[in-house]
C-alpha cells in the first residue's frame, strides 16, 4: 500500500513539473525572445547602420571641412545620440512591450507617442523599400558585359547617340531615363513603370521572407545582412587604396578646415545626422529590446550600438572617398587628354610628344609662340580641386557617381555586384527595424483575430504596403521619394524623440527609471546619464528642432527636376513644389505628430466620463486601473 501511494505521489509530482514547465513555456511563448545576445546586437546594429552611413555621412564630412566635422559629430553622439539610444533600449527591455504598449504603460495620455512612431515607421518603410527596389534593379543589371550604364544607346536611325544621353552622361541617362523614366515635373505623374513594379515586389518579397517568423527569422537573417556590409567595405577599402588618385581623395576628405566650425549649419547637420543615423524614435529599437531577457546590461548595448554606428560611418567614408578621388583623377586626366589631342591636332605635333606630365610646359610654350591659335582652340580648364569638390549624397552618390567610378575599375561587374549587394543588405537590416516598429504594436494590442496566423497577418500588411508604395514607381516616383525622405523622416521624429525623453524622465520619473535600470543592470545610472537625460539632451533636441524648422521655413521648398527641355540641361531645373504637394508635405509632417495630442485628449475625455458615471460594482478598485 505504501508503494502504491509513493508511486501515485511521484507520478503526480512528475506531471506537476511537466505542467509547470509547460505553463512557463506557454507564458514565454507569448513573447518571443532572441536566441542569443549576438542576434540582438546584430539586429540593433543593422537597424542603426543603414544607407545613410554610406551615402550621407561622407558627403557631410566633405562639405563641412573634413576632419573638423568629426568634432560636432562626436559631441552630438555623446550628448544626444547615446542618451536617447540608452533610454529607448532600457524602456523597451523593462516594460517588454512594443512602442505603443510602452507609452501606454508609462501614461495613457502618452499613448499617442507610440502611435506616432508606428505611423512614421510605416511611412518610412514605404519609400525606403523603393530605394531597395532601385538597388535591386542595378544589381540585376550588373551581370552584363559591358555594364549598361557605360555607354549611350544609339538613336533611332543609328547615325549617332541618343540626344538626351549625349547632352548629359551615359550614367545619368541610365539612372533618369532607363531606370526611373522620370517625368519633367512632379505634377506629371506618368504611368506605372512595369520594371520598377516587379523590382518593388521583389524587394517586398525579400523583406517578407526575412520577417516571416518575427524575430526568429530576423535573428537568423541578420547574421548575414549585418555582417556582409563590413566584409564588402573592407574589400572595397583594399581595392580603393590601390587605385591611382585614391590618396588625393582621402586627403581632400580629411583635411580639416577649422573655419567651418563657426557655421551653425554645421552643428545642426551634425546633430540631425546623428539623430537620424541611430534610428531612434522609430519604435523599432523599443520593439527589439522588448524581446530581451529582463536582466540584460542595456547600458553596454546602447554604447556599443552607438559607437559601432559612428565607427561604421567613418569606416565607410574611407573607401567611398578613395574611389571618388580615383574618379576625380580620371576626369582630370580625361580633361587633359582632350586638350592634348586638340593641341596635337592643331599644331601637328608628333603623337604623344605632349603627355600629361609635359602638358603645362607645352601650353606655356605654345601660348608664347602662337597665342591666337591657342585661344581659338578654347581649351577646357582642368582643375583637380574643382572635380574633387563635385560631391553628391544620397541616391546621386550611389547610382550616378559610384557607378561611373566602377566603370573605370578593372573587373567592373564584380565591384558593381558587391557594391549593390552591400547597399541592399544595409537597407534590408534597416527595413527589419521599420517593419517591426509597425508589426509589434499591432501584435501587442491583439488587434489580430485569433484565427489568423502570424504569417497571414504579415502578408496582409506587406501587400497593403506594397500597393501603397506603387506611387513611387510612377514616372514622378523619384520626386515623391524625395518628398517623403525630407519631410517624413525629419520633423516628426524630432518631436517624437522630445516627447519620449520628457515622457520617460519627467512623467515616469527619474527615480522610477533609475530603479528600472538598477533592476535590469544591477547599478543605477551615473551622473553623466542623468545630466544628459534631464537637461542636455532635451535642450539639444529642442534647439535642433527649432533650428531645423526655421531653416526649412526660410525658403519655399523646391526640388531639382530632370527636364531635358531645360536651357541649362544637363543641370537639374529647380522647381517649386505646387500647392497641393505642399499640402501633402504638411500632412506628412502633421499626421504622425497629431496623434500625440489626439490620444491625450481622447484619454482625458474617457477618464472624465468614467469619473462622472456611477459605478455600482463594489469590487472595482480604481487603484489598479492603468
Amino acid at each position: 500500500m505504501w508503494s502504491f501511494l509513493l508511486t501515485l505521489i511521484f507520478s503526480h509530482l512528475h506531471i506537476i513539473s511537466l505542467k509547470m514547465v509547460q505553463t512557463k513555456e506557454s507564458a514565454v511563448e507569448e513573447r518571443p525572445k532572441w536566441d542569443n545576445k549576438a542576434q540582438y546586437l546584430l539586429t540593433c546594429i543593422g537597424f542603426a547602420v543603414g544607407l545613410g552611413n554610406v551615402w550621407r555621412f561622407p558627403y557631410l564630412c566633405q562639405i563641412y571641412g573634413g576632419g573638423a566635422f568629426l568634432i560636432p559629430y562626436l559631441i552630438a553622439l555623446v550628448f544626444q545620440g547615446l542618451p536617447l539610444l540608452y533610454l529607448e533600449l532600457a524602456i523597451g527591455q523593462r516594460l517588454r512591450l512594443g512602442s505603443v504598449g510602452v507609452w501606454n504603460s508609462i501614461s495613457p495620455l502618452l499613448g499617442g507617442v507610440g502611435i506616432a512612431s508606428s505611423i512614421v515607421s510605416l511611412l518610412v518603410s514605404l519609400f525606403y523599400n523603393t530605394i531597395l527596389a532601385w538597388v535591386l534593379w542595378y544589381f540585376f543589371h550588373s551581370f552584363q558585359d559591358p555594364l549598361p550604364w557605360s555607354s549611350c544607346p544609339l538613336n533611332e536611325n543609328r547615325t549617332g547617340y541618343n540626344v538626351e544621353c549625349e547632352k548629359s552622361t551615359a550614367v545619368n541617362y541610365f539612372w533618369y531615363r532607363e531606370t526611373l523614366n522620370i517625368t519633367p515635373d512632379i505634377e506629371i505623374s506618368g504611368s506605372l513603370q512595369w520594371w520598377m513594379v516587379i523590382c518593388l515586389v521583389s524587394a517586398w518579397c525579400i523583406v517578407y521572407i526575412c520577417v516571416i517568423k518575427g524575430i526568429d527569422s530576423i535573428g537568423k537573417a541578420v547574421y548575414v545582412t549585418s555582417t556582409f556590409p563590413y566584409l564588402v567595405l573592407t574589400i572595397f577599402l583594399i581595392r580603393a587604396l590601390t587605385l591611382p588618385g585614391a590618396t588625393t581623395g582621402l586627403v581632400h576628405l580629411f583635411t580639416p578646415r577649422w573655419e567651418t566650425l563657426l557655421n551653425p549649419q554645421v552643428w545642426l547637420d551634425a546633430a540631425t545626422q546623428i539623430f537620424f543615423s541611430l534610428s531612434v524614435a522609430f519604435g523599432g529599437l523599443i520593439a527589439f529590446s522588448s524581446y530581451n531577457a529582463e536582466k540584460n546590461n542595456c547600458e553596454r548595448d546602447a554604447v556599443l550600438v552607438g559607437v559601432i554606428n559612428s565607427a561604421t560611418s567613418l569606416y565607410a567614408s574611407i573607401p567611398i572617398f578613395a574611389i571618388l578621388g580615383f574618379k576625380a583623377n580620371n576626369a582630370y586626366l580625361a580633361c587633359l587628354d582632350k586638350n592634348i589631342l586638340s593641341l596635337t591636332n592643331a599644331f601637328d605635333i608628333a603623337d604623344q610628344n605632349i603627355t600629361t606630365d609635359t602638358y603645362d610646359q607645352w601650353v606655356t610654350y605654345l601660348n608664347e609662340t602662337y597665342p591666337d591659335q591657342v585661344l581659338k582652340l578654347s581649351l577646357d580648364v582642368c582643375d583637380l580641386q574643382d572635380l574633387l569638390d563635385q560631391s553628391a549624397s544620397g541616391t546621386g552618390l550611389a547610382f550616378i557617381v559610384f557607378t561611373e567610378a566602377v566603370i573605370s575599375m578593372p573587373g567592373s561587374q564584380v565591384w558593381a555586384i558587391l557594391f549593390f549587394v552591400m547597399l541592399f543588405s544595409l537597407g534590408l537590416s534597416s527595413m527589419f527595424g521599420n517593419m517591426e516598429g509597425v508589426l509589434t504594436p499591432i501584435k501587442d494590442f491583439k488587434l489580430v483575430p485569433k484565427w489568423m496566423p502570424n504569417e497571414l497577418f504579415t502578408v496582409i500588411v506587406f501587400v497593403l504596403c506594397c500597393a501603397t508604395a506603387l506611387i513611387f514607381t510612377l514616372g514622378s516616383g523619384n520626386y515623391w521619394v524625395e518628398v517623403f525622405n525630407s519631410y517624413v523622416g525629419s520633423v516628426p521624429l524630432l518631436i517624437i524623440a522630445l516627447f519620449e525623453i520628457i515622457g520617460v524622465i519627467y512623467v515616469r520619473g527619474m527615480k522610477t527609471f533609475s530603479d528600472d535600470i538598477y533592476y535590469m543592470t544591477g547599478r543605477r545610472p551615473n551622473i553623466f546619464w542623468k545630466a544628459c537625460w534631464m537637461v542636455i539632451s532635451p535642450v539639444m533636441l529642442l534647439v535642433v528642432f527649432v533650428a531645423y524648422v526655421v531653416v526649412q521655413a526660410q525658403k519655399h521648398p523646391s526640388y531639382p527636376a530632370w527636364n531635358p527641355d531645360f536651357e541649362e540641361f544637363p543641370k537639374t531645373e529647380p522647381k517649386p513644389y505646387p500647392d497641393w504637394v505642399f499640402a501633402i508635405i504638411v500632412l506628412l509632417c502633421a499626421v504622425p505628430v497629431i496623434s500625440i495630442p489626439l490620444v491625450a485628449v481622447y484619454k482625458l475625455i474617457c477618464r472624465g466620463m468614467k469619473k462622472t458615471s456611477v459605478d455600482l460594482n463594489p469590487y472595482n478598485n480604481y487603484a489598479f486601473e492603468g
Binding site: S11, H12, I15, I16, K19, T23, K24, A27, L136, W137, F139, F140, H141, F143, Q144, S151, P153, L154, R158, T159, G160, Y161, I198, C199, S202, C205, I206, Y208, I209, I212, K213, S217, T344, N345, D348, I349, A350, D351, Q352, P453, E455
Partner: protein, 218 residues
C-alpha cells in the same frame, strides 16, 4: 623624243601634286595616332608604312568600284607632317588626270574601314579620316535581357523560400495541435478525479495535484 616624254611626265607629276594639297576638294585628310594606340609596341612611320597605306587604299577602291584596277600609283599623298597626318587624293586608273570624286572615295573607305584599320593595328579613333564619320557599331541586344535572367533566379529562390517556410509552419502547427490533443488525453487519465462542480469553478480549488493556472508562478 625622250625629253618630250620626260617633260610630259614631269608636267603630269606637277599637275598631280597640285591636285593634292591641304583643303583639296576631292582629297581627304588622314591622321594616325600610332603611339596612343600601341604604346611601347608602336612602329615607326616610314616610307614602307606609307606604301602599305596607299596599297590598302587602292584595295578599298578596287573593292568599291569593281572592275577598275586601281594601283598604288593612283593614290597620291602629300603634306606629310610629324604628327603623322597627310592628305591624299585618288586618281582614276583609266585616266590619271581625273580625280575620283569625294563621295565615291568616302563610300569605298567606309566599306573597307575595318580592313584598313586592321592593316595598321589601329581603330576608328586612332586612324582618322577627317570627314568620314565611323559607322557606330550596333549594340549587341541579346534575345532575353540579361537582367530578367538574374531577376528570375533571385525571385525563384525567394519564392521557393517563402513557400517552404509557410508550408513548414503549417505542418508544425498541425503537429503541435496533434501533440496537444494527445497530451490532454494523457492528462485526463492521470488527473485525480474531482467533483466537477460548476459553482466550485469560480471558487478555490482544493486539488493538490491538478493543473491550475490561477496558482501564481514562482
Amino acid at each position: 623624243m625622250l625629253d618630250k616624254i620626260l617633260f610630259l611626265l614631269c608636267l603630269a607629276a606637277a599637275l598631280a601634286d597640285q591636285r593634292c594639297m591641304p583643303g583639296a576638294p576631292q582629297g581627304f585628310h588622314v591622321r594616325l595616332s600610332i603611339k596612343t594606340a600601341l604604346g611601347d609596341e608602336a612602329y615607326v612611320w616610314n616610307e614602307n608604312e606609307m606604301f602599305l597605306f596607299r596599297a590598302s587604299l587602292a584595295f578599298a577602291m578596287r573593292n568599291h568600284m569593281g572592275g577598275q584596277q586601281f594601283e598604288v600609283s593612283n593614290i597620291i599623298v602629300c603634306n606629310e607632317t610629324e604628327r603623322v597626318s597627310f592628305w591624299f587624293v585618288v586618281t582614276s586608273p583609266l585616266d590619271t588626270s581625273q580625280l575620283i570624286d569625294q563621295e565615291n572615295v568616302e563610300v569605298a573607305v567606309r566599306k573597307s574601314r575595318n580592313r584598313i584599320n586592321g592593316a595598321f593595328l589601329l581603330n576608328d579613333k586612332t586612324l582618322e579620316f577627317i570627314g568620314i564619320l565611323p559607322t557606330l557599331a550596333a549594340p549587341f541586344i541579346p534575345a532575353t535581357p540579361p537582367w530578367l535572367i538574374a531577376f528570375g533566379v533571385v525571385m525563384g529562390a525567394v519564392g521557393a523560400g517563402i513557400i517552404i517556410m509557410l508550408v513548414s509552419s503549417v505542418v508544425q502547427r498541425k503537429r503541435k495541435a496533434n501533440e496537444k490533443t494527445r497530451d490532454e488525453d494523457n492528462d485526463e487519465e492521470t488527473r485525480v478525479k474531482t467533483v466537477e462542480n460548476g459553482a466550485a469553478r469560480d471558487g478555490v480549488y482544493n486539488m493538490s495535484f491538478s493543473e491550475d493556472e490561477r496558482f501564481t508562478e514562482m
